[in-house]
């Protein structure tokens, strides 16, 4: 039976660990060997809304495994503009490709796509709902940085109310358990209560604060987020909080050397460029681990055993 990657909610801890192990094996494999693994296979990349990183990352992953890529990154030149249903588009693309990765502004699109075809479907973001490959690559990055996922002190900083990436990563870390979280945000962008409540029984603890400085001094990892203008119904509210948290090299003076900073990118003002050369900056390696993890996802869903 075909498998898909639609939502973190579908994945057990064992499955997540399996992806982490597979990504590690992919990373240690000689490039020559890797390039043979998906030779002759085709990835269809269906992006109904703009994305730079996710789309290029999947395409890079497929090329590095020797496969080919087709698709679109905007719908203006496709039958979608003529009113074609999503299910019809998916059934058509199924004839052209071996696996589909889809990003769409409506929630539930990836699930519907998976139900409409018999080839694997990867969700690369469905509205504000899920983006599971981002969470898997975040977990892989954490494991690469610290050698483990459990037992860390992790601060989430910025837009904790609307950030899909943060919500999903927090839920995944909750499955691993044994973490200490610090939620750093303006009052208006606090972590939703259902996510805080969801940590009950996970073996994780959390505190909430508006103070970034203490998080930098006391945590192992800071996960920064962009405050997303498009999420605010009231632009004045956005203006009040848009620059609430900004890390620069000066702010990092004196913080423990172990501190690492991740960010799903793109960044705006929340991390100054002078942080980039410091030992703390982990967000560009994070992008690289994204390609590794997406190779693991493609291999797994296409049933190529390693």
């Amino acid at each position: 039976m075909k498998r898909d990657l639609i939502s973190l909610n579908d994945l057990s801890l064992e499955t997540i660990q399996g992806y982490l192990e597979l990504a590690a094996r992919v990373e240690s494999m000689p490039a020559e060997e890797r390039r043979r693994l998906l030779a002759g296979r085709i990835l269809a990349v269906l992006f109904y809304e703009p994305s730079t990183r996710t789309r290029l990352s999947f395409e890079s992953a497929m090329f590095r495994l020797g496969g080919n890529v087709l698709g679109f990154s905007e719908t203006g030149s496709t039958s979608v503009a003529k009113g074609e249903s999503l299910a019809d588009t998916i059934r058509t693309v199924e004839q052209y490709a071996d696996i589909i990765v889809i990003r769409h502004p409506k929630e539930g699109t990836a699930r519907l796509s998976a139900a409409s075809c018999s080839i694997p479907v990867i969700n690369a973001g469905d509205g504000t709902n899920q983006h599971p490959s981002q969470t898997l690559l975040d977990l892989y990055t954490i494991r690469k940085l610290f050698g483990r996922i459990q037992g860390l002190r992790i601060a989430f900083v910025g837009d904790l109310k609307y950030s899909r990436t943060v919500h999903s990563l927090l839920q995944a870390l909750g499955k691993f358990g044994n973490a200490t979280f610090r939620f750093v945000s303006p009052e208006s962008l606090r972590m939703p209560s259902y996510l805080r409540d969801g940590l009950a029984g996970s073996g994780c603890t959390f505190t909430e604060t508006v103070d970034l400085g203490s998080a930098l001094a006391e945590c192992d990892l800071v996960y920064m987020t962009r405050i997303q203008k498009e999420r605010f119904p009231d632009i004045l509210e956005y203006e009040k909080v848009k620059n609430a948290y900004c890390i620069d090299a000066r702010l990092l003076r004196g913080v423990p050397e172990r501190l690492r900073i991740m960010h799903p990118l793109p960044r705006v003002n929340e991390i100054a460029p002078d942080v980039d050369p410091t030992v703390h900056a982990a967000y560009f390696p994070q992008v690289g681990y994204g390609v590794t993890m997406r190779q693991a996802i493609l291999l797994d869903l296409l049933g190529v055993k390693q």
Partner: protein, 160 residues
Amino acid sequence: MSTDKNSNPVLHIPKIEEGFVFDHIPAGLGPRVLELLRSYPELAEAVVTVGLNYRSGKLGSKDMLKIEVTDLPESLIRLISLVGPGITIKKISGFEVVRKLGLELPDAIDNLARCRNPNCVTNTERHVAARFERSGKAASYRCLFCERVFDLKELELLLP
């Protein structure tokens, strides 16, 4: 006149020879159940009797509804289980109860309700039926597509 069936053998609702009795309807919900029944064209001409506010040992007070038909649409039973879990449906034949069905909240709701999330694909694509699964909490359901969780009362039922 008393409506207690133990103290008075004459009920306001007459017995029916063939059909179905909807019993243990929480008081006030009878009209809603009637509304669901009336939404089915195939039941439009059936004889229906409704009684409201009977005294009930179990519920305090209850509504009751009788319909003289040989069959009930399956989807109607599933809809009624959503608005009134705990309702008992009795099949009557020859004035006798021949079968009893106690309605419970279902584990899944399939094509019977609309997702409340306007950005859910079930509301934006044609011909996509919304499906929900019971979430952890008592009467909460998670949309299988957008994964949002709703209280059952928030969901708009799809009538035929």
